[in-house]
Amino acid sequence: MKEDLTFEKAMARLEEIVKLLERGDAPLDTSLKLFEEGTMLIRSCGEYLDKAEQKVVKLMKSETGEPVELPFEAGEN
């Protein structure tokens, strides 16, 4: 998934593309381009979901007040 394309946007665009394709009134070359874009989105959304490793961090305030991520161990105090 590209940085500027969130999963949410990708899913929304995908839904839009399928609706356009199902309406069936776009010119053929446009439809082919839409199909290609849709296939790409499906692949990248699938890859996003496949990043199965859950990331858990603990957020702490640094001395400057900026957030710092630390590993989180469940059960710590």
Partner: protein
Amino acid sequence: MNAKIYGVTELNNRIKALLDSDAELTAVFVRGELSNYKIYPSGHHYFTLKDQEGTLRAVMFRREASKLRFKPENGMKVIAFGRVTVFPRDGQYQLYCAELSPDGIGELHIAFEQLRDKLYKEGLFDKDRKKPLPKYPERIAVITSPAGAAVRDIIRVLGKRYPCAKVIVLPVRVQGAEAPPEIVGAIRYANKYKVADLIITGRGGGSIEDLWAFNDERVARAIFESEIPVISAVGHEPDVTIADYVADLRAATPSNAAELAVPDSAELRETLLSTQIRAVQALNRMISQRRDRLMTLAEKRVMKSPLNYIEDRRLLLDHLQKHFISAAQRIVAIKKERYVHLAASLDAMSPLKVLGRGYSLAQKLDGTVIKTAAEVQCGETIDLRLSSGALKCEVKERFEA
């Protein structure tokens, strides 16, 4: 002296029977302060209730003690409920405690209801002020105790359903006086640094006092002001806190909060698969529709034998030409007929026709027709037009009428 002499046990039993026959003592509430609190290996709890002047021994058996929703400590003000009876072996009466709750609950309830009504009137619970939750959150901030079961439940469920979301734990205390400012601080901090697109805050179940941080006005306002949507997950189903009312979504438990926060990635994968199938089907349908249209067009006679088309056009042209010619001839005939007619009427009106009857036309040399004798002078030359030819004449004499 006829006084009856009791055995010890007999007397104890007599006293026990006396106490047991008092209906009020079989179900009594008593207020006091805990002391000498001891939990025996058997699981039974032994303690003393006291006030300024007196003490009362009490026992709470394991079965009842397991239902305690707070941790009793010496010095704590409590209200106990149970029956008073005698334990004949010790010759001691004591309270067999069935329920124990911290004193002051009544005041807390009043405070809760007052705050709830106040915030309700201010519109903090309004449905239209609730923010929509992101459909596919990418970063989820969990504001809770890092040590409790709640954080573990949330992380476990999120990991199972939607492992692609990053979980950011903002550790806070969830009970005690420090809890509300810590929770408020964490909510504001998450907003300030935009660390997440969704917040889950809450804790596991407990007594009303344990949950009190989530009934704090400051916490309620911080949740309301949060630009990041907030799911509250406080305690278990029946416990409703102010935080639950003001949150964008209320979850029954921390695990439930995690379930509500994210979609199930297995379901999403199926959606993606069916989307792919729909796209392929739509495209195939589109191509086959176009192919059908192409075939229909190709089947037309003009496409199959273009010469036919040309011949058709030639026939049409011949036909038109024929019609055109006859139409033109008809027009010419009409015009000609009108011409003959006009010529005849013109001829009838011609002055030459009058001359034919023997009249002649006198004109001055400049062509002016002479109508009266006075118009000419003697000796003037005039033209005289006859039916055939003309004469140039000189006026000899004038006879005026």
